[in-house]
């Protein structure tokens, strides 16, 4: 595994903590997934029910790396302030930086993203930017100080898989030494396997597991697929070709016609 800001992860599975039917199912899904990273967020807390405190105890018990996000932020200022609050609460420099630019697709505002990434890097954060497969934007993010890039597979929560195979393959080829994570849009384990086969270092997903009929079962399915894809990439896949080539040797075949 490639390392992420100096941290080597046990596997390429980053799993979200939202939308599960219950906390017990969330915990079970994490156990069966073996995921090495959990994404979390910050929301308003009530002094009466203090719901966030119970959630935090449960997440700590998972014993995984914590990656807080800036989900729902639409401006640089909002994202930067949220990142600072997350760093204090979760006691980590890691931040999954989201600056949302458009409501229908939840695609990143890449201009704001680059600016926020620069500000946060200068403040000592280790930024995981949720971006697109655009190579120019990727380059700007690296110049802003990012050492990891997280291109989308498809719009958040859509389950459409890898929408732009060419673009993602080009990104992998263009940045061979940068840890790349497919973040968002995956719906099926086969799509996660495909991402890993392309040479991506990890996948980050949430809805595909949380909204499955059996989230824990789906979490294990994703874990298996991610492992398969990673092994396949390491095993150097064959080159596809347009014409058939017999796999059984022709030499020595009997003449029977």
């Amino acid at each position: 595994m490639r390392d992420f800001y100096g941290t080597t992860l046990a596997n390429g599975f980053m799993l979200g903590t939202a939308q599960y039917p219950s906390p017990a199912i969330l915990a079970d899904a994490f156990r069966r997934s073996g995921a090495s990273v959990a994404t979390v967020s910050l929301r308003r807390e009530s002094g009466q029910d203090r719901a966030g405190q119970d959630f935090w105890q449960m997440i700590r018990a998972l014993d995984v790396h914590i990656l807080p996000n800036t989900a729902g932020c639409h401006s640089v200022k909002e994202a930067v302030t949220t990142a600072h609050m997350a760093r204090e609460v979760f006691d980590t420099k890691w931040i999954k930086l989201e600056v949302i630019g458009e409501e229908d697709t939840l695609q990143p505002d890449v201009f704001g993203l680059v600016e926020a990434a620069r500000i946060l890097t200068e403040d000592g954060f280790q930024v995981f930017p949720y971006t697109t497969e655009d190579l120019v934007v990727a380059d700007r993010l690296l110049h802003a100080g990012c050492e990891v890039l997280m291109p989308w597979g498809a719009p958040i929560g859509s389950g459409l898989g890898l929408n732009n195979l060419f673009g993602l393959r080009a990104m992998r080829a263009h940045f061979p030494d940068v840890p790349l994570v497919i973040d968002a849009g995956l719906g099926l384990p086969s799509q996660a396997a495909q991402a890993m086969e392309l040479g991506f270092d990890a996948v980050l997903l949430n809805t595909a597991v949380a909204k499955a009929g059996d989230p824990a079962g789906m979490a294990e399915a994703f874990a298996t697929a991610i492992r398969a894809g990673q092994l396949a990439a390491a095993a150097d896949p064959m080159e596809p070709r347009d014409m058939a080539a017999p796999s059984t040797p022709v030499i020595g075949k009997a003449f029977l016609s």
Binding site: L42, F55, P68, A71, A86
Partner: protein, 65 residues
């Protein structure tokens, strides 16, 4: 004075942010705070004064993707 805590108007006797947090049931909680859109680190809560109409945000860990 009256101020907004997480979007709800409340009446408080507190003059400082740390006093408000204690008054509103956040003692010992894992939270982060902001006043009028600016992050206020835990170390600065005791010296962060409050004014009528301030917008105070108190955030805690929550599920996220």
């Amino acid at each position: 004075m009256k101020l907004q805590l997480n979007g709800a108007m409340i009446e408080t006797q507190a003059k400082m942010l740390d006093g408000l947090l204690e008054e509103q049931g956040f003692t010992g909680a894992k939270i982060a705070t902001a006043v009028n859109g600016e992050f206020v680190p835990a170390s600065a809560r005791a010296t962060q004064s409050l004014s009528d109409g301030d917008l105070v945000e108190v955030l805690a860990p929550m599920q996220g993707g």
